[in-house]
Symmetry: C2
Subunit: 251 residues, 2 copies
DNA sequence: ATACAATGTGTTAATATGACGCAATGTACA
DNA sequence: TGTACATTGCGTCATATTAACACATTGTAT
């Protein structure tokens, strides 16, 4: 949550931070980008502070860009977390010293923080987890196998997933999580993973194609066992159109 | 936005405020509770600051309670607003002096603020608009006739209404906006007002009763022209149940 | 060649939705 | 007093949507 930026605390909006739940899809798993600090090997969501002259949305984009190297990503604010004790006793003086925070800045870091939660959907294959501090680890983790997280990050993650599930029925989400060319079974697995339940193959195909944002390519997936599924891509124009109007149906 | 609380600024979370969009329903109109300050007759959403030792949700409850006298209300955080310039040049030194802010506190008020938006649904007949400063006016305004508002409050209001519309299909909202006993036509008018379009009478009845949260009373509305409609009330238990599971259908 | 696992397409019954018809009720006014 | 009228309550029907399932097709593995 810290090392990405390191200005003087006066240059940041006080008492306010950003935390991002960055989702990716790979190996039929919904993964989340997590960070392990070198100080105490604790895991956390990637986050950062808000420059005093920066929109909160822009700050979120910065965090995302810093961690994944990606731009123009699907990014959405979903909730703000601000119970009183949420970051109480989080930073010890030792840890701040470890992170290179000068003593006169300690008070700022130890004060009460409210955090704005954003979630992002990224194309796993294009995202490169970035480390700007060698003692940090940035890692994709299956959302079923998330370790203990600092502060209330677990609750933030849960809320993000909950939001994603709800929004899945309101808009076509796959576009942001899959590579350019993909198969319908792939897309279905993505939906099943997010929703946490099985869907009927045939009904899924009918519904997803009925939306009208998929283009069937004259190409099949290669190197697969059994029958090779057809490849599809998203029709970006129609996708934008549907995003505006919203979807009606559920899954 | 100010006068509700007036502690020393050090007792508040810096750079962070709460704004509430309080909805009520009366005279077949969806109304919003607005505040006119005595200083320059400008209108704003009721809001306040967050005590350093107070959860943000609690702060929102406080604002609501201070303005409507109501407790145990449906209150929901919907978005956080934080573009850089949103409160730039909002408070002049003159205005702060008018509000009784000592000069040494000016810097705090003039600094950049991020605001957390909450919306509330209240029973109009039970809510008593409260004025804690005689120079202020607290008033219910038809959401179609909202005057110019300060800062980005118009955008906050719009987002709140948008959220309410979406949530209307996800949960039974009427419970919080209507008096204990009400008629189906009343409830329909509420839905129509929120959604901004007409619904078919007969289909509405079918759908709303199918949810199973309404209890038909052995009583008719009195003092009405034409045929007296039956009175209903909400079944609080079933309502809670449905809230948990969520609704599927749309309107 | 044949078994197998997964894909592509079609069918059908149940349910939900939207668009109406019509009788019943209670007030207003001749 | 009784007739017009707006509004309510209940029902019908055609159509759209959904869920559940059958079957032929394809390409790999043995």
């Amino acid at each position: 949550m810290l090392k990405t930026q390191l200005k003087n605390s006066k240059e940041y909006q006080p008492g306010l931070s950003i935390d991002c739940v960055i989702f990716g899809f790979d190996d039929n798993q919904l993964k989340v980008l997590l960070i392990k600090t070198g100080y105490d090997d604790s895991w956390s969501l990637p986050g950062g502070f808000i420059s005093i002259d920066e929109d909160i949305d822009t700050a979120a984009v910065s965090v995302l860009q810093a961690r994944t190297g990606l731009m123009g990503i699907f990014l959405r604010q979903f909730a703000t977390f601000g119970t009183v004790g949420r970051n109480q006793n989080h930073f010890s003086s030792d840890s701040l010293a470890y992170f290179g925070i000068p003593p006169e800045e300690e008070k700022w870091y130890k004060s009460r923080f409210v955090t704005i939660g954003y979630y992002a959907l990224v194309n796993f294959s294009k995202a490169i987890p970035r480390i700007d501090n060698p003692s940090e680890t940035v890692q994709w983790v299956d959302h079923h196998k998330v370790p203990a997280l600092i502060l209330d990050h677990r609750a933030i993650l849960d809320r993000a997933l909950e939001t994603l599930r709800t929004e899945l029925s309101l808009m076509p989400v796959g576009y942001n999580l899959l590579p350019e060319k993909f198969t319908i079974p792939d897309l279905q697995k993505l939906y099943e993973t997010i929703l946490g339940r099985k869907l009927d193959r045939r009904n899924f195909l009918r519904k997803i194609t009925a939306i009208g944002i998929l283009t069937k390519l004259d190409e099949k997936k290669s190197n697969v066992a059994h029958k090779a599924p057809n490849l599809y891509c998203f029709d970006k124009n129609k996708y934008e159109e549907v995003l505006k109007n919203g979807l009606t149906q559920g899954w």
